[in-house]
Symmetry: C5
């Protein structure tokens, strides 16, 4: 998971001209595929293309129906550039699509809006895994670029396929909204899983804290840092969209964006709450360690404080001085036992008073 | 109580189309009931309906008198939708009413205002329990949706029943204000209870801190996180209402909203003060543990430091060497006692100087 | 002092209609008295009335001279209401006057300004004690409501009595300013006392820290929380007044309010500085405890580490094996002493190297 | 230095009418002197007056040349008042000049600007010492009031004396700028000294931390609190001036004020950086104490854990039971040594595994 | 590295007139050189001048082609002043160029923009090293002042040399952008290196924490303070530029500045993330020390608590009383062993219950 956090730094991009296309991210052998969906309220068409068929996509730009061109992979620069050219994308937009380390943002290029978002996946061992999704929203098309095949958009696809519901009747802006909504919904499912694990860990903290618990707390703390980094800028982003300054977003869609905005704030709130909870758990862990140390010390002190003086007395009468009158006394031995028991009892009363036992 | 905190995550809502009605929250077997109150300054009418009589409510929309339709339960989706339809509620509003995990917010839909609020209940064992109240304020009606029967609105109902006081002469906006006021007043009573418990716990901290105290402090900390999450957005919400941008809120009512706003700030302030107090108590607890450990260590050190050297001397003269001149000395034994007492006295003076005893 | 902090919660107010007059605060047996001062640059009249003479005050509303009506006590609701009625006070204003748990605020009701302020008193045992002062500033009168007799306004009264100085020539707004100034000046005297105590405590911390010191630090921390709560809203309040939006405040008076504003900021600054100092003292206390523990541990370790091995050797030669050649050696005993001294010396050198002694 | 911090509270000012002139600060026996400098680009005149010659200053108000009247001391109220009267200063301005506990601020009185600044001095033993400088900037004069003789303005005086450079050709606003610049430059020299001491202390922290180090860190922390209190408001102050809202500040001077503003931000930044560094040092100190304690504990544990079992065995064979077969064994004694060495070796291997040695 | 941090304070500048040129920074023996590049879309000319040829540069001001004059070193005041004069730079600009301790800023002097930036270098031993770069952007020229030879601009030079790409076709503002972009790109490479080291250190923290780890964490913390100080103001700076208020920045270039702005935010984000990570590591280190101490204490307590009572019993039967019946018992010795084993077993069970072993 550290890898994940530090991946955020572009590795291959330094020292080249701005606008030069370089793929930043994990290299992939997989060939890029394109999911092509073209629809209006009447008809629906779906196709899976290889990246070489990029020209097929370009033709759709002119058609009045809504086209959703979903590109699975951004590591084959030439083809991405070709696609960019036929949709007139600015070189900096192409550069940002290829650089998968961007923070979420929205940019208005008059003819189209460019959005960078983060899709999150979570598994218990590997922690949070992010994948960048770049959206280009034009008047009648949406381009979506993912790092690899596999996404959270299946619900959207299903709603497009079955010809009912609002989505088929609305424009490209509604489609873009639906994609954003799916991504933010994905955050909720991750928060749910993390929430379950936090609850589990809290249980563990109360019943049986161990150094492993500390490590888990620390890991959660790091995941929260990562999550926050992905979610915070989203808030601004959607707020900017919803203010409706772009002519590409219809007013009816803006109401739905307000809804996504609410969800984003809820995610941010929950992340902050989790951070607070985790901080509280760390405090609790540390104080429980202090408590334990205290208890250990008390046991040691009680045992040592009782027996050290007694051992001293035993030592005294183990000495070999020729003249030690007590050794001759008839009840010396039993008297000493009496003294020792008295000392022990006194100590115990003292400890009881101090509330140590 | 952790449950409570983490319940905030919608469980069943992921991956469905926005505007699809799904109930999010604890499922309930209870049948939904409707409290119907219809009044103006002259007349007053109160009725308890089953949810099936939803049409009865719809008729009231047209009547000039003020209607308060209070729905106890949101888990029967079909009926809620029917009600929503006859009041022309936007699908997203209905979705938010069913999803009981929303954060407090206000939304202006021109024809009506939509408000989400949190009613809080508190009991000593279970901690804070939240229940979502959604208000829809129209020109002459207020719809209020609760998660289940039982609320903090009885005072409002009483004032409506006895035909005196301001409330019967004012419009629906004043009724909405009265409901908000009742909810915020409920926060005060919770703060009062928590305040009493904090005082109690402080007493405990001074007289007899234990690991249980730590757990209670930790629990309070969590409750404060929850409380804060419910109260903070309220501040913005009421501030937005009071600024009077909606034509549904009369200017005379705005003055009363300013009053609720003051109360909300007072609640927020008190929550923050409690957080500060609890943080201070944690510090105090940790330092009192340090202090105790210190005291334990001192006792151990004093006992060990005095007796270890003495035991060593006793050991020396317990040796069986054939040639040990001191053993033959007439006053060897008593001399040794003298030396030992001198050493002990020296140690005690040393400890006194160090202010350990 | 906890009481003081938590008193902030209204106890008797829950569940009643807004604007209903209920006294919130400590009940009092004392009868309410009214200090009536009526003056202009020419004449001065002072009277002490019983609360029953409330009509006497009402007459003054019409007279062109400036009237200062100071009410000592707000627990007799009927009379307060009577007074409110003849000065046309809004029900919410009367409610706020009776509820002595309000936070400082200013409200503009066109005909008059309503201000809530906190008068602070301090004594070493009881900590900070707050008393609410509500001011109503009309065109030619000032009403001031206190919780009980005894205030910080004697300086103002003296300046009114002796017919010189600015105050007799100015309007009611200047009088209100003078009262606010007196209240803020009172804060300075409290800060001075607390500052002295902090200095004292710091001395104590350096010379002889004890668990009692910790308790005092903790108490100071709480007082600062309370003080801050009283002072922070004041800042906004005076800033709002000084911006001169009310026609009741003359421009010449606004300059004086700027001065009070400066003082308020100075108070806030000092409170923050005290908080920082107290936080620093807590750190210092905790590290001095750590230091002491460290020292205790070192003494224990040095003594134990030197004597435990020596005692072991003494134990060895105290054994009763039949065949132990060393016991027969002529110089065995003295040789052992030599070995022991060498071990001790080695240990001491080791400790010296570690800088433990 | 605590004195210094807490001096901020005015002692003699409580309960008097606003605008009453009372000197707040350390009383002084020294007589007030006045440095009078009168110049334009052609001529330069310098004079040292006693405070009684205050009328001499008043004449300069009318002359077209620039006059800088620097008053060393504010404890002789009558003369200050006389000066104030002939320059038409508002009573509150005079009050603020006499009260040397003000926070930095600027106030625009149309005819003149009133500025309060803090001159800082530093010496290693006494810590930071502040002196208030009040500036009154009129169209052709600058009044500067200091608490006592001795300031940071000698550079400005030298530049005025030698008839070259910008200063003689510019107006009174440039002179005021030059004085502010000199004061802010003085902050840099203090930061430099403190920076050197921090570096020194860091060295000490690494090589030989002691409780004295802790005290020094704590002292630095307090000085930073003081410094910050003096510098923060300055930022606002100069920013307000530079925005050029006053007609007394020429646009050409505003560029220079932008420069002072930059310096002020740099000072603020450095103070914050120092605070961060000092906080880091405290952490480092505390962890190094923890580390040491850990090391002490390890030594104790290693010694005790090895020798306590061995001593037990020695004790066993020191017992006087009549029937103890081992005592008769030929190799009993040497065998026991073997067992003991084996135990010690086992322990050492165990400790090595635990990485304690 | 402390040096580095504290170098921020100008040493030689105090007490001189503003606008006086004094070099602040490390003195250098190296002679200043000038890189002169003059180009338009058609032609390209590059020259390396000695500082004495400053007049050569001045001629370029008039020519329509774009000139980039890069000065390596600012310690020869006279020549810098000469250059400043022929480009009409304000005295305060020259002062800021010479003072290499400035914080990043932008200032608009109508005819030219003045920018101060920080170039960062990093090596593992010496930590972060900053070098100030001052840029002056005129209509057709860019002046860049560095502290010494060696920079991050080689990529820009290469793109200028090979006559393709956007840069040769654009104006001076694009060149300035390219330089800023190169500087910010340099930050990424440093973040990457630091990120790698943090990962390394985390590994170390888990496998084998030592006091050296603590020192490294502390060093990282300091580097982050330094880095943040360099990067934060940059954000504002580029934001100000990009808002396009200066007529020197073409709108087409503003889009590219938006891109640099994104990068800057990414750098700031990463620095903040690193700070969070480092803070987390400190916590982890401290708790792992606590854990270890706890473990050490447990071992000590277990050993001591088992053997101290046993040794006491051995001591008892080592006493030399004449009348001790047990010593005569046939099975006394073996019985005692039995008792001892029972005690040990009891202890071990107790420890197991406490989960200490």
């Amino acid at each position: 998971m550290p890898k994940q956090l530090l991946k955020k730094r572009p590795k291959k991009k330094l020292g080249v001209a701005p606008g030069t296309l370089v793929h930043v991210g994990e290299p992939s052998q997989e060939r890029i595929t394109i999911n092509l969906i073209d629809y209006d309220s009447e008809q629906f068409h779906e196709e899976l293309l290889a990246i070489d068929d990029v020209q097929r996509c370009c033709q759709l730009k002119a058609s009045p129906s809504i086209s959703w061109i979903n590109i699975n992979g951004v590591h084959e620069i030439g083809h991405i550039e070709a696609l960019g050219n036929c949709f007139n994308l600015h070189p900096l937009v192409l550069e940002d699509i290829l650089n998968t380390d961007h923070r979420p943002k929205v940019e208005d290029y008059e003819d189209y809006l460019f959005l960078v978002l983060k899709m999150l996946f979570y598994d218990r061992e590997g922690g949070i895994h992010t994948e960048q999704v770049s959206l280009v929203l034009g008047p009648n098309y949406v381009l979506s670029f993912q790092e690899k095949t596999g996404d959270v958009f299946d619900g959207v696809r299903d709603r497009l396929r079955i010809a009912k519901g609002r989505i088929r009747k609305q424009g490209a802006d509604y489609l873009a909204y639906a994609l954003m909504d799916a991504i933010v919904d994905g955050y909720f499912s991750i928060l749910e899983q993390i929430g379950d694990e936090i609850e589990e860990m809290e249980q563990e903290l109360v019943t049986d804290p161990s150094p492993q618990t500390l490590n888990r707390i620390h890991n959660f703390k790091r995941e929260m840092i990562l999550l926050r980094k992905a979610v915070w800028p989203l808030r601004e982003l959607i707020s900017a969209l919803q203010r409706g300054e772009s002519r590409l977003i219809a007013e009816t869609t803006a109401i739905y964006l307000r809804d996504v905005y609410d969800h984003t704030i809820q995610v941010v709130d929950t992340v902050e709450t989790f951070r607070d909870l985790i901080a509280g758990m760390l405090d609790l862990y540390l104080s429980s360690i202090s408590n334990r140390m205290n208890e250990v010390m008390k046991v040691l002190t009680i045992i040592a404080t009782i027996f050290i003086p007694l051992t001293f007395f035993a030592g005294i009468y183990g000495m070999n001085f020729e003249y030690m009158p007590e050794l001759k006394w008839r009840w010396g031995y039993f008297g000493l036992w009496g003294v020792m028991l008295a000392i022990s009892a006194g100590m115990l009363i003292f400890f009881r008073r101090k509330r140590w036992i």
